[in-house]
């Protein structure tokens, strides 16, 4: 049933995408292989696809020194899920409102969002605000709040989608049938906006999963609330510090002799992204289902 042009197109697409996919995948395989390479071999021979000597020691080391690893994973999952949900709850209605051209003051609201994408007070004033005024230091909210609408970009993207891809006629018809603006939004706009909501949800999810800065800034006395990226990042940085300043560190030898300083960086990167890769397809399915259900129920 494909036309000839269509067939050629599909073949070419497959080739191009396969090349890109392999390009993306190969370094990842290298990353994984080097994480299971013996540390000394890694220093001697560099990163190899097939290492001379395998070793799981780097992983062993992470789990042995970091008994908090499973808990940190749990916190990361809770953080990511709540972050995504909350982000979307804030972003979607705002974007929808901005997409309506007759809303009075729309230009101002647009600018209000846009301005935040360029200017912010900087780390110190932001920290002072969250600590002194909002009071989220050393709580879970310290991880959640500062990254919520990472920037106005998500709002802008979604707005643009509502403007271009959801015909006003459908919504107008519903309005005439007596549905409230909220109902139109829930039952018509949201289901139609599934592609962009999934995308923004994914971006927010990656953002939350990978964030390690907020933990450092806001969790000074509660490192039991560290997410997995916080924890891994901390280990890597500390080991790096230790090996760079070993001259100063008394008994550094006892610690250093047992640390796989190079392979550990790789194993941490793997530990950081692997769960996300495994969970991603399932999460996406559940997510799309959630949006559909939400739309129908509303």
């Amino acid at each position: 049933m494909f036309t000839k042009q269509e067939k050629i197109f599909q073949t070419v697409s497959h080739i191009v995408l396969a090349i890109l996919a392999i390009n993306a995948l190969l370094p990842m395989i290298l990353l994984f292989m080097s994480s299971i390479t013996d540390d000394n071999v890694l220093i001697k021979e560099g990163y190899k696809f097939i290492p001379k000597k395998f070793s799981l020691y780097a992983y062993e080391y992470v789990f042995k020194t970091g008994p908090a690893v499973p808990k940190a994973y749990l916190i990361s999952v809770i953080l990511t899920v709540s972050g995504v949900v909350l982000s979307l709850l804030i972003t979607t209605p705002m974007a929808y409102a901005l997409s309506k051209k007759y809303v009075l003051g729309r230009g101002f609201l647009n600018f209000y969002v846009f301005f935040t994408m360029l200017f912010n007070g900087g780390l110190v004033p932001t920290y002072m605000n969250y600590t002194n005024v909002i009071g989220i230091k050393n709580t879970f909210f310290g991880l959640l709040l500062p990254g919520l609408v990472t920037n106005g970009m998500y709002i802008m993207l979604m707005k643009s989608y509502f403007v271009t891809s959801i015909p006003d006629e459908i919504m107008e018809a519903a309005r005439i049938d007596g549905a409230s603006e909220f109902k139109v939004f829930r039952t018509i706009a949201i289901p139609l906006a599934k592609p962009i909501i999934t995308t923004i949800g994914l971006f927010a999810g990656i953002g939350y999963w990978n964030d390690w800065q907020n933990g450092y800034v806001y969790l000074t006395k509660r490192d039991d609330l560290y997410s997995i990226q916080n924890l891994l990042n901390r280990m890597v940085q500390n080991i790096q510090y230790l090996s760079a300043n070993s001259q100063n560190v008394a008994n550094a030898d006892i610690g250093l002799a047992s640390i796989p300083t190079v392979s550990i960086r790789m194993s941490m990167a793997v530990l950081g992204i692997l769960p996300m890769l495994i969970a991603y397809p399932f999460a996406q399915k559940a997510f799309v289902k959630g949006i559909t259900l939400g739309g129908v129920k509303g």
Binding site: D39, N40, V41, I43, K44, K64, T65, L123, V124, Y127, M128, T131, N132, K137, G215, Y216, V217, T220, K221, D223, N233, R234, Q237, N238, I239, Y241, L242, S243, A244, S246, Q247, N248, V249, A250, N251, A252, D253, I254, G255, L256, A257, S258, T261, V262
Partner: protein, 562 residues
Amino acid sequence: MKNVKKLLALLLAVAMVFGLLACTGTTPTDDTKATEKATEKATEKATEKATEKATEKETEKADDGKEDETEPEGELTPYEQAIADRRAEYEKTGQYQKVVYAMYTWIGKPAGTERIQEALNEILREKLCLEVELLVLDFASYRQSIQLNLTNNDEQVDWFGGNALGYTSCCNNGFCYNLEEDDLIQTYGPGICELISENYRDACRFNGELTGIPPMKDIAIMCGAMMIGKEYLDAIGYEYTENENQEVPTTWDEIENIFTQLHEKFPDKYVFAVGGNQFGQGSIVDNIGGDWFGVLLDPTKDTEVVNLFESEEWMTMVKRMYDWNQNKGFMSADALTDTTSISAKCKSGQYMAMLSQSKPGYKSQISGECGREMIVFTVGQPIVKSSGVSNVISCLNQASPDPIAAMQFMNEMYTDAELSTLLVWGQEGTDYVYTDDGHITFPDGVDAQNAEWYHTMNWSLPNQYLAPVWVGDPLDLGAKTMEFNNSAPTSLAMGFTFDNTEYTAEYAALQSAYDEYANQLLYGFLDPETGTAEFNEKLRAAGLDEYIAEKQKQLDAFFAAK
């Protein structure tokens, strides 16, 4: 073994009694004497020297007729008065004054933190009528967390490690309390003043204010120490004799000779692992003010600030490195890009030698780090520079709610062996046990990874030499280190700090040029002559001459004030 335990029990009792007395009104002299007794016994030779000195000074002071030493009994010295005031306050409110001590480790907050804190407080409540809170952060977060907190002061922080944030930066940002304000350190930190001599305190001054104090540690450095794996030396049959410091004094030419032989014998290995600041480690040149733009070439004799990169010392070094790299093939072609630490490189067995700085006990440390016995060859000489003093430093937050309490706390940490041991090694039995020869080590079933208080941050803590010595280090490490510090010649610019706030633009441009050229030249990847010429041209354009002139001006003013 048993004896040591008994001794410690006795000490504990003694300390408690004296602690109680201190809280209710003995003189500081009694107090320090008590500690003296304690320290002498606990660490034997280690601190003998330091405390002896302290006593000497005390007597001198008394002879000078200093009032607080000779005050009649009955009346309280300001030191005791402060404690008495806190006691009165405590009886009113039921709350101890809290001092927050922000420590950094590379493992985060150890599991035993609360236990150690409580053990410290048991002593401190009696002795000083205050409580300490240990705020333990790891390096990864320390800098940012503490800096934000010092800017905003939303949580109490009293003592913090200025070096972890950048000491100059702390001073420039006004984070530090002037420890001599109203004679704070003289009145409430007499023990510190005795241990950290005037000379060393001067090295920590910033714009005339004493904004930090160094811990008791190695302050002198033995520059130019080349570590070579013993097995490789044996393979080429090289003969050497170690001196009493386990070092082998030699020359650059001899090192080159060894390297050549090593290279012939092991053509598949790299001879020399380069990393870090190759020049700083190899020479006595004093990079005054903490940067390389304007230095003292012979800091023990000459006070002229000159451009290092036009000096003979520089040219000799980069020529040698170029020769080693390009002609002799001692280094890896990836030397510039491979950021793996040099000790890890030696540990991997692919590299045979590395350059660093030596100090007492260094041989066992570096051998452990490299996973093989390393022989320490020295080509330089020991020296004391300002940077050696202030590179580890404790500062008091300017917003500290009670600087007097904070200073008294610190005074005890410098002088009380029991407190220091708790902070450094934790509690006996749980965190460490004595071996038969008087060293300490892990109790059965405890190792570096599951230990509850094994942070190895001794060097950053006030007085590590009051605490027992861990297996592997010589028992007299403290004494040796002090001797090393005292015997090394001192840079004339010791105590000079450079205020470059008016020259931030020049500094940024100079640093950029430095990052561009310095390592390429020092690792032998750029032709020494033309590379250095280009480098200097760029530095000139960035304002090197003005920068050096300003440095000289401030240095001259510094000498004039002296």
